[in-house]
């Protein structure tokens, strides 16, 4: 088949820049932030820095066997804090939650803090050990994703 000019645009064109998410506007997406936060919301707008505006956002915490979520409303995320994002299949998005038990958000927050603190502590030890051998441990305490 002959290729038309409009086939070169958007959907069929392999954008690797912020324009790649234009197809996800007004759809439910998942965003992972550098601090380890999981956000689920409707993508309303974005720009060239991947600054995102999410509406009706829920924040969800996953622990080993539990999860918790809380309504957060409208989020404007500064692009540089985004690790990854992707569109959700609204029919299947909650399927995996059957493996988890829902707990109150505050409790999950506390447990997560303990978990993250121990990660930071372990990484500090690792950094010291690696440094003694002349190696660099690529870890920053703000990177908890």
């Amino acid at each position: 088949m002959e290729q038309k000019v409009e086939d070169l645009y958007l959907e069929s064109y392999a954008f690797t820049t912020a324009a790649a998410i234009v197809g996800s506007v007004d759809r439910k997406i998942f965003v992972l932030l550098r601090d380890g936060r999981n956000l689920f919301g409707i993508l309303r707008t974005f720009d060239q820095f991947a600054n995102l505006v999410l509406q009706d956002t829920f924040e969800r915490i996953y622990l080993d066997k539990e999860f918790a979520e809380i309504y957060r409303g409208v989020f404007m995320v500064r692009g540089e804090n985004v690790v990854m994002m992707g569109e959700l299949d609204i029919d299947k998005e909650d399927d995996h939650l059957q493996q988890f038990i829902q707990i109150p958000f505050e409790q999950a927050e506390k447990n997560l803090k303990i978990k993250q603190d121990s990660t930071i502590k372990n990484e500090r030890i690792r950094t010291k050990k690696l440094f003694a051998k002349g190696l660099i441990n690529d870890f920053y305490k703000s990177d908890l994703y």
């Binding site: 932030l33 601090d35 309303r44 707008t45 974005f46 720009d47 600054n51 995102l52 505006v53 509406q55 957060r72 409303g73 409208v74 989020f75 404007m76 995320v77 500064r78 804090n81 703000s142």
Partner: protein, 129 residues
């Protein structure tokens, strides 16, 4: 509508700013710019652990330190309305300019006219922000 433009609609409204360090600032948004630099008033600062609070009257936050902002739910619909109003105003302004411009062209030369027109446009831009 771009995120930073949407933020201008949240002026005078209560917002929450979290910095990369985890500190949060709750206050009314006074002003913002294309770098996401913010000025807030009547601020409550919360430390990263969420157990220490401090009242600050006015604060300036440099955009580069921002992790995210949380803005009131109604901003989305408010911004939509505002952009519609702006668009209508722009249309009527454009119409007026066209008729005015036609009259002036028949009366005088273009040099002075161009300068005056520019000044006008600058003046009109303010109420839209």
């Amino acid at each position: 509508m771009l995120p930073l433009y949407l933020l201008t609609s949240a002026k005078e409204k209560p917002i929450l700013v979290e910095l990369k360090t985890g500190e949060t600032f709750n206050g009314n948004l006074i002003n913002c710019d294309p770098w996401m630099n913010l000025t807030l008033s009547n601020v409550i600062q919360t430390n990263a652990n969420g157990d220490k609070f401090e009242k600050i009257e006015d604060i300036y936050i440099r955009g580069i330190h921002v992790k995210y902002l949380r803005i009131p739910d109604e901003i989305m619909s408010y911004a939509k309305e505002q952009s519609l109003i702006n668009m209508e105003q722009r249309n009527t302004n454009a119409k007026n300019r066209r008729t005015e411009g036609g009259n002036r062209n028949s009366q005088s030369h273009g040099g002075h006219h161009g300068y005056r027109n520019q000044g006008r446009r600058g003046g009109r831009r303010n109420p839209q922000n």
